[in-house]
Amino acid sequence: MKKNGNLSVLTKGIFKENPVFILILGTCPTLATTTNVVGAFGMGIAALVVLLCSNVLISMLRSVIPDGVRIPCYITIIAGFVTMVQMAVQAFFPALYEMLGVYLALIVVNCIILGRAEMFASKNSVGKSALDGIGMGLGFTLALCAMATVREVFGAASFAGIAIPFLADYKIEFLVKAPGGMLVYGLLIALVCALTNGKGPKKKEFTCAGCPSAGYCKTGACQSKKEEA
């Protein structure tokens, strides 16, 4: 793990290590909830809240949680926060709750949250973990919003539910469907790659140290397999 300044911990999630476009995590909600901007923004914020809270709590408990049961502990904590967020959204934003449907509950198994808990919060101080959570959450939200903007504007001729009249006759309805989402996703990844000039974290930076299964598997086994292939 590189030594990072607090600011870079916060900002890296937004662009350099954007969870959606660079780390390619949380693909399922990315495709499912980006048909409109409001839903994407709501999903992003909900994930941000869960990410921030779970990062802080897991970081606080990092010396208490035994290594052998850390994944069940993380899942319990994350599920607790997700359920709280779900209840709050259902109570105070019922329209958003209906829009997100099952994907709100599925934040529990969102790779970004579990990934950050495992890769960052369990090894860093509370403050840094909080900044990481905010950064990653914002990165997730921005990525979702960017994708939703493309899909909603060109696919449904509206932005955040407000109709764009001159586009109404040129809707590409395919974009709102799942395959269209996949296409937009791929194009945005390509764009981000072009902008970062391929300077995003290289695959080899995710060594066995960053793998949740590292403790249970023969260290280095998968890496050598990759090289063989």
């Binding site: 949680i65 052998g68 259902q90 109570a91 019922p94």
Partner: protein, 397 residues
């Protein structure tokens, strides 16, 4: 051992703490969520009863309501919303119907149906607008939407049920029996010993003044329908009901005629030029004819992938006077498309031929959507008229 104890303990503690926090959150949000849900349900009800505020669901179990009514809601400021389930062209037609405090239709909405979207579905929409503002007496006058007779008929009767239900729920009284139920109740009232089981008698004699005769299935007597009156008679034709001498004598005379009827089978080969569809013919001692004849309907002529031809004729029994006036008509059997042409087996259809002659037998209401069946039926009736003319001419003429 010590390690696994620690693992269990820490995980257990985390679970316990999370549970407590969740319980607390739930206690905080549950009432708000419940309020939201009921507001949403209210909004759906307001759609059909815009003036209604704060709906409460009524317990309708054990209440005397039309059987189509599944749920009922009362608005605090008056009016009802009924959820009804009925069968149109296909089963599973569910609609919401709002009834204003003044007893008129405030709005209807089809929430589920198996109707053909392009026909029944469209018809239901335009019909929903037509029923607005109608009350229980005005609903029958709403025009059916062409091409979707069954859908609109079901819609109309469901809305009528809703109107009646609103009257009943409001403490009023209304007759919600179907025509069949009314008839059965009337027959049972006239002849209680029949136990409610009657069959309609096929009339072969010209019994002026008597509309219909029903026989108790347990052979305890007959009921003559004379206008609005139901006159019970025993198996020997003696009048049991308390009525005027005039009506009693009409009923007695009719019954005597019917009980003393004797028929002779006619040998069809003795006659020249009879229609080939003729099955059998009888003549009564009084000179009336009883003819069974095959009608060529959709069961023979039709058939496509959806409604295959059954290969069955419509078998019609008709009795008529020697001068060619139909006394009674009955569909004995048929193989028409179920739910469409099969309506030719309903009394509402074949009963229309009673009293008709060759000059006016065509003036009947066709079966909706079953032109082939109706035409086949009419053609068979025409052939019955022709047969009687041939019988009247005499054998081998």
């Amino acid at each position: 051992m010590k390690k696994s104890f620690k693992n269990t303990f820490v995980l257990g503690c985390i679970c316990a703490v999370v549970s407590v926090i969740l319980a607390f959150t739930n206690a905080l949000t549950a009432p708000i969520i419940e309020k939201n849900e009921s507001e949403k349900a209210n909004a759906a009800l307001s759609e059909v009863l815009p003036s209604g505020k704060s709906f409460t669901k009524l317990d309708i179990t054990g209440q005397k309501l039309p059987s189509t009514v599944k749920e009922a809601y009362r608005a605090e400021n008056g009016g009802y919303v009924l959820k009804l389930s009925t069968t149109g062209y296909a089963p599973g037609m569910v609609l919401m119907c709002g009834i204003s405090p003044d007893g008129t239709v405030a709005g209807t909405k089809l929430i589920a149906s198996g109707e053909t979207p392009s026909i029944g579905g469209v018809a239901a929409e335009s019909f929903a607008e037509k029923v607005l503002g109608k009350d229980a007496s005005g609903i029958d006058g709403v025009d059916t939407v062409g091409g979707a007779t069954k859908t609109t008929a079901a819609y109309r009767s469901a809305v009528k049920d809703a109107l009646n239900a609103a009257i009943l729920l409001g403490g009023g009284d209304v007759d919600i029996r179907t025509e069949e139920e009314i008839l059965r109740d009337n027959l049972s009232a006239a002849l209680p010993s029949a136990g409610g089981e009657f069959e309609k008698l096929f009339i072969t004699e010209d019994i002026a003044g008597v509309d219909d005769v029903y026989k108790a299935k347990n052979e305890t007597g007959f009921v003559c329908v004379i206008g609005e009156q139901f006159i019970a008679l025993d198996m020997n034709g003696e009048v049991l009901s308390d009525t005027t001498d005039e009506i009693a004598s009409v009923a007695r005379a009719a019954m005597q005629l019917l009980l003393s009827t004797q028929t002779t089978d006619l040998t069809l080969t003795d006659y020249v030029g009879l229609p080939t569809q003729l099955i059998s013919a009888k003549v009564t001692a009084t000179g009336n004819y009883i003819i069974e004849i095959k009608g060529i309907g959709y069961g023979i002529l039709g058939g496509n992938d959806y409604h295959p031809a059954s290969g069955e004729y419509i078998v019609i029994r008709v009795s008529m006077t020697a001068d060619g006036r139909i006394i009674d008509c009955l569909t004995v059997s048929q193989g028409e498309t179920n739910g469409i042409g099969s309506a030719c087996a309903n009394e509402s259809f074949y009963g229309q031929f009673d009293g008709k002659t060759e000059a006016n037998y065509g003036d009947i209401e066709a079966i909706g959507g079953a032109t082939v069946t109706t035409n086949g039926y009419k053609q068979a009736i025409l052939r019955a008229f022709e047969s009687v003319k041939i019988f009247e001419k005499g054998a081998n003429q």
